[in-house]
Subunit: 215 residues, 2 copies
């Protein structure tokens, strides 16, 4: 029994999706949400869900941001984008956000059913037109470089040096050894790095630093 949630601001389309799903007995619709924010709230109460069918254009919190959030906090939950728009930007962002599939709303019940099964089975599902756009994006590495980077985080030379060593998986004592410093100093640097990046452990620091091209 696959536990499903639907997120869409259009109640008509939620109904349509419900009907499509109702044909199949191996699905159980746990709940639906109006928008990303609503979804997050409901998940915080109960995240016992296997898969989410997610619209993109929504008020309060859109489907891309919601996907980011869910995949960050509940990576085990599968997400299939289910939308009327198939422009490059949406597809690109959805994939980057971690979506497991991208279907157009016109999809027929049988294909939706199969897509959900494939996804639960560890695969990905895409309508053919989306798949083609994906391949094209893949062949055109231009877009990969474009990274929106609002924040202005500044680390000192030493801090970057430490962070680089940290990202190699070195332990504090080895980093200290490499840089001819005391372990205490390394720890203090890392403490300051965490404060500046607003994170609380190695992994987050490294990920955030990479996203902001600091290392």
């Amino acid at each position: 029994m696959i536990k499903i949630a639907i997120v869409d601001d259009n109640s008509f389309l939620i109904k349509a999706a419900q009907e499509k799903l109702s044909f199949f007995e191996d699905f159980s619709l746990k709940f639906s949400a109006d928008n990303g924010f609503d979804l997050v709230e409901k998940l915080e109460k109960n995240h016992n869900v296997d898969l989410i069918l997610m619209d993109i254009e929504m008020p309060k919190m859109n489907g891309i941001d919601a996907t980011c959030f869910v995949k960050q906090k509940y990576p085990q939950i599968k997400i299939i984008m289910l939308t009327v728009f198939d422009n490059d930007e949406n597809i690109f962002n959805a994939i980057k956000a971690g979506a497991d599939g991208y279907l157009l709303k016109e999809v027929n019940p049988k294909e939706l059913h199969q897509g959900i099964l494939d996804t639960m089975n560890g695969g990905a599902t895409m309508t053919p037109s989306i798949a083609m756009k994906t391949l094209k994006l893949f062949r055109n590495p231009i877009d990969f470089a474009v990274v929106a980077n609002c924040e202005d985080i500044k680390l000192t030379t030493r801090e970057i040096e430490v962070l680089e060593q940290l990202s190699k998986g070195l332990k504090y004592n080895l980093i200290a050894d490499n840089l001819f410093l005391s372990v205490g100093t390394i720890r203090k640097h890392i403490e300051n790095i965490y404060t500046k990046l607003q994170v609380h452990n190695k992994l987050e620091a490294i990920q955030k630093a990479k996203n902001n091209n600091l290392i």
Copy 2:
């Protein structure tokens, strides 16, 4: 009536494909070829073909190079890779070479039929597992350069699931919560993962797993 050619060095598999196609009346098999070189020769005599089902591993000229050649000289001809291997390198190269789809040979007649129709319609077709690998390659631009993978590391489904959550920076208790397990079990899984990957901490595990496209 869609005109199809099959390229495969295994005559048995050509026969299998022929049979799969014979179920459908909108296909006509124009010819088959033993290898890429053979295909090129035959196309030079007569390139009145809509779509090619292409094996990868072949003597004389492999499927990747053949795809490159065909797409260069006859861009209107659609090409679907049809192979037993689904390793990253093949998928990556096939896409770069310009393939319009990538199916595993296990594919059933109906799916093959639909895939061909989708492709002729300007879309792309992929088996779900391939689609997932494509998305992962897409998200991990590191792999574009590397793609050298000698070792054969095998993690269980559960282990990969845990590793994925670990890579998001989640702590053990949150992972346990997400997967409805005890913290002890998570720790044991991580212990086993470390042993298999021959590493001794999170970061190394995640890096090694990414390099081997396990996550």
